[in-house]
């Protein structure tokens, strides 16, 4: 594979251009279960090649999915460069990694369908035993990948990744009322505690949902759950921290580094060098990975940048270029971490006289990414009354402005949990506007 990449690099250099070659090869296996039975098994294999060129001061890009690079890959990339954006950066020379970080577990490629079935079937059986009437779906998937990046400045880096995930969903129908609860855990390799944690979270939620509760409209104390609650509600921030928006002054955070933007309880870090599923040693452009503090005690410190947007914004690249099989590198998050606080979750709940515990806001991505304004119905939320969770609320929405609301964070829990590439604690915000039917 590397040889093919070197050939392509030479072909671009012969035309007087600089080249960046990226190759990805992955294999992914998975099973899907419905009501305790393993219904589907799949194996996926894919290879792809991407070529970015800087030719006559302009950037061009082309890519292909296929066992071999498309015969016209170089020609397409050079044609793209003829019309392309002005090059504001050069492909970087080799960079030493700051630190070794685990991205691969040898056991993952050796997993068998039989082993996955055992995990999935046991998980379903536990859920089904407690809720025999409900629909239970589950999935176990595992995969591994290798990436190769080389450029005309001498960078050549190869990395291996693996992943393993267990997830389950329970759907309960009572008359016209439907309750859906989901949980998934991911890592580099098989871990027994994934399935047990998924089971525990789902049972806990379903148990709490067995009772109904009512809440009145008005500003309330709201706890956001680490799995989806915090993540969904922070959606506008993804665009706010995105170096591409910052470089074009389209982020509301542009030019505000050093300013206090959130409560001092909030510290937000993007860290590819922490052991989590978003880890890597070099980013998608060969820049060495580094810990990047975005918000420190409520004060804005940085954004996520790739080479192009860092140059455009006059900032340092942060090693945050991510790429898929067929797309150009773009700045994104690696392991997105909100630093844990000091208060146990139980104390936070106990401190609330009337409030909500929000698990799953619907369509929170519809928030205005620039103003931070949101209005979102709650797919799954529990009422807290006199320091205790008392039951599920239905047909309730929350509305507000995330940039304003995060100034009023009243507590961050001592407990934090990984879901996907995010390590997030529970966050209590005082005065979220609740709209009830």
């Amino acid at each position: 594979m590397l040889e093919r990449l070197c050939d392509l690099r030479r072909a671009v250099e012969k035309e007087g251009g600089a080249a960046e070659l990226y190759a990805l090869k992955y294999e992914q296996c998975g099973i899907e279960l419905t009501d305790g039975k393993t219904k589907k098994a799949s194996r996926k294999q894919e290879t792809g090649y991407a070529l970015r060129v800087i030719h006559k001061g302009r950037v061009g890009f082309s890519a292909c999915a296929g066992a071999e690079p498309a015969p016209d890959l170089v020609e397409q990339a050079l044609a793209s460069a003829q019309l392309g954006a002005q090059a504001r950066f050069q492909f970087p020379p080799p960079q030493k990694p700051q630190k070794d970080v685990t991205t691969y577990d040898d056991r993952t490629p050796k997993l068998t369908f039989q082993q996955a079935r055992e995990v999935g079937e046991r998980l379903c059986a536990t859920l089904k035993e407690r809720y025999p009437e409900a629909l239970v779906e589950a999935g176990v998937s595992w995969g591994w990948a290798e990436t190769h990046l080389l450029n005309s400045s001498g960078t050549e880096c190869s990395q291996r990744f693996s992943s393993y995930s267990v997830s389950a969903m329970v759907q309960q129908v009572k008359g016209e009322e439907i309750t859906i609860v989901f949980c998934g855990k991911q890592g580099f390799g098989p871990k027994d505690e994934f399935a047990s944690r998924v089971t525990e979270v789902i049972l806990e939620r379903l148990n709490a949902a067995e009772r109904e509760a009512k809440i009145t409209s008005g500003p309330k104390k709201v706890i956001f759950d680490p799995m989806y609650g915090v993540f969904s509600i922070l959606t506008p921030l993804w665009e706010g921290f995105d170096g591409e928006n910052v470089a074009r002054k389209a982020s509301p955070l542009t030019g505000r580094v050093g300013e206090k933007i959130f409560s001092d309880l909030l510290t937000i870090v993007d860290d590819p060098l922490t052991e989590g599923v978003g880890a890597y040693m070099w980013d998608g452009e060969g820049v060495a990975a580094r810990r990047n503090v975005l918000v420190d005690g409520g004060v804005l410190r940085n954004f996520v940048f790739d080479l192009e947007n860092a140059a455009r914004a006059g900032m340092e690249p942060t090693g945050s270029a991510r790429r898929g099989l067929l797309s150009r590198p773009k700045p994104s998050f690696s392991n997105f971490i909100i630093e844990r606080g000091e208060t146990p979750l139980s104390d936070i709940i106990a401190s609330i006289d009337e409030g909500l515990y929000v698990v799953n806001p619907l369509a929170a991505w519809g928030a205005n990414p620039l103003s931070g304004q949101f209005s979102t119905p709650l797919g799954f939320a529990l009422k807290i009354e006199k320091g205790e969770i008392v039951g599920r609320v239905r047909q309730v929405s929350i509305a507000g402005n995330i940039y304003e609301d995060l100034k009023r964070v009243a507590a961050v829990s001592r407990e934090a949990e990984w879901f996907g590439n995010r390590l997030i604690p529970h966050i209590l915000v005082d005065g979220i506007n609740v709209v009830a039917k």
């Binding site: 009501d35 039975k37 294999q45 290879t47 296929g66 369908f113 039989q114 619907l362 209005s375 506007n433």
Partner: protein, 461 residues
């Protein structure tokens, strides 16, 4: 590689399968994108893909699938799919019978976009980008995108089906962000159609309107949250029927779930008598139209709600057999990376007979909710973000309002439909539908104006 050669390799591999049923789908795809961001070229690029999927079924096991890139190795993946199927417990999966077909479906257009150079496409988008920027300095960011895609698909089954299909689509996407005095507003529009290059020409008005709307929204007040009589425009009504009801009509959502089956029982009344809705994969020129679905089943018109009553749902061969209902031609996959699942094609609310002015004439204070940034549903709960809206006051369209979010319970909302406009149209917008990790799938949707009483409009109190 020549078509005949590809077919030969696939035939040869299929013949070696040890499974009870095997299908192979192989695709070649070519995508071109030209993207301007705020007056500057972002990228103009062409990307190609080549790959396939083998799906096997064993009566002593289940569904096994294997996807691959290397055509020469397809036989290995026929075996891999068989091994996957064999790793599963016996589950009595039956496929509803469909007659094997041998067919070639050509994609014929006026101007073939593959023959138009990248620089001509770039000039077109540059012009549209300028049209957006005519709205003035308040526009702080904008995007103009052109895209086209060309797909060639080979589909072979062990039952004897042999389909060769060509498909293509052109599209445009415009968006603008405006800012003034700390207020930020967005507007967006898109267009997509399985058609030739001629269809993306002369769209300056669409681009200009996007810039103008973003600026106008700056001075529009946010809608006051509450319960209103609401009129949805055709685009938002289409999104509503697709998201909220269409997905619930997909048989894979209900066939394993006894309680959900009770909820979605055929013959049950869901809406007033004048309400009809369906899904039709045969509509000429729409994005969800194909002659066959991805299991080789001919597409057709499927009524979902007739005279307010649930009369049908959308099926794959497996769900149709399982539920003992007829095939509907709704098994679709977004690409060779996926096995087909039950999906919509072109979903619609049938035309009504009330002129728009009569639809709003007796609304004292209501909301006219227009267009959509998309929505999310969790079975009966839905939420849609409208692009913009107007207040209706004393039977007339009044001031423009922003931040209009329509949310509610599907069953209540359908029951509360009070009227349908006489102005049905198909919405030719871009993007697509997502489900089970497969998105965006090109789908069509259409509706007339729809009036609904007592709808929760989210916004600031």
């Amino acid at each position: 590689m020549e078509k005949e050669k590809v077919r030969e390799i696939l035939e040869d591999a299929l013949a070696r399968s040890r499974a009870d049923y095997t299908e192979v789908r192989f695709e070649r795809r070519m995508t071109t994108v030209v993207h301007f961001r705020h007056g500057e070229m972002e990228v103009a690029t062409t990307v190609s893909e080549e790959g396939g999927i083998v799906r096997s079924l064993l009566s002593s096991g289940g569904w096994g699938t294997a996807t691959f890139n290397r055509l020469a190795d397809v036989a290995t993946f026929v075996e891999a799919a068989y091994e996957c199927a064999r790793a599963l417990p016996k589950q009595n999966i039956k496929l509803a019978e469909t007659p094997p077909v041998q067919d070639e479906v050509r994609f014929c257009v006026e101007r073939d976009f593959r023959k138009i150079g990248l620089s001509e496409k770039a000039d077109l988008v540059r012009g549209y980008n300028e049209a957006i920027l005519e709205a003035g300095d308040a526009i702080i960011d904008s995007h103009s995108l052109y895209s086209d895609i060309w797909v060639e698909r080979f589909y072979l089954t062990s039952e004897g089906t042999r389909i060769y299909e060509e498909w293509g689509e052109v599209g445009l996407r415009f968006s603008a962000t405006a800012r003034k005095d700390g207020i930020v507003q967005r507007a967006g529009q898109s267009f997509a159609k399985p058609a030739g290059y001629e269809m993306v020409l002369n769209k300056e008005t669409l681009a200009r309107d996007v810039g103008a709307l973003a600026v106008k929204l700056l001075s529009a007040p946010p809608v006051k949250g509450g319960r209103y009589n609401v009129v949805l425009n055709q685009e938002l009504a289409s999104v509503f029927i697709h998201e909220a009801f269409g997905h619930l009509s997909e048989a894979d959502h209900v066939y394993e779930n006894r309680r959900a089956r009770e909820l979605m029982v055929l013959g049950k009344r869901f809406a007033p008598e004048f309400f009809n809705a369906g899904d039709d994969g045969t509509v000429e020129g729409q994005r969800g139209t194909h002659k066959y679905d991805d299991e080789g089943v001919p597409t057709r018109l499927n009524w979902l709600i007739k005279d307010g009553v649930l009369v049908g749902r959308l099926h794959s061969r497996e769900t149709a057999a399982k539920m003992g209902e007829s095939l509907s031609g709704n098994a679709r996959a977004i690409s060779y990376r996926f096995a087909p699942i039950v999906r919509m094609t072109n979903t619609f609310i049938a035309n009504g007979d009330t002129p728009f002015n009569d639809l709003i004439s007796d609304i004292k204070e209501g909301v006219y909710a227009c267009d959509s940034y998309g929505g999310q549903t969790e079975l009966e709960n839905f939420s849609f973000i409208a692009g913009y809206g107007y207040m209706i006051r004393n039977g007339r369209i009044a001031e423009l309002v922003r931040d209009v979010v329509v949310a509610g319970n599907l069953f209540d909302t359908l029951r509360n439909i009070e009227g349908l406009g006489d102005d049905f149209k198909w919405i030719e917008r871009g993007g697509g539908c997502g489900k089970g990790g497969q998105g965006p799938l090109p789908v069509g949707m259409g509706a007339p104006h729809v009036r609904i009483r007592d709808v929760v409009i989210g916004g600031r109190k």
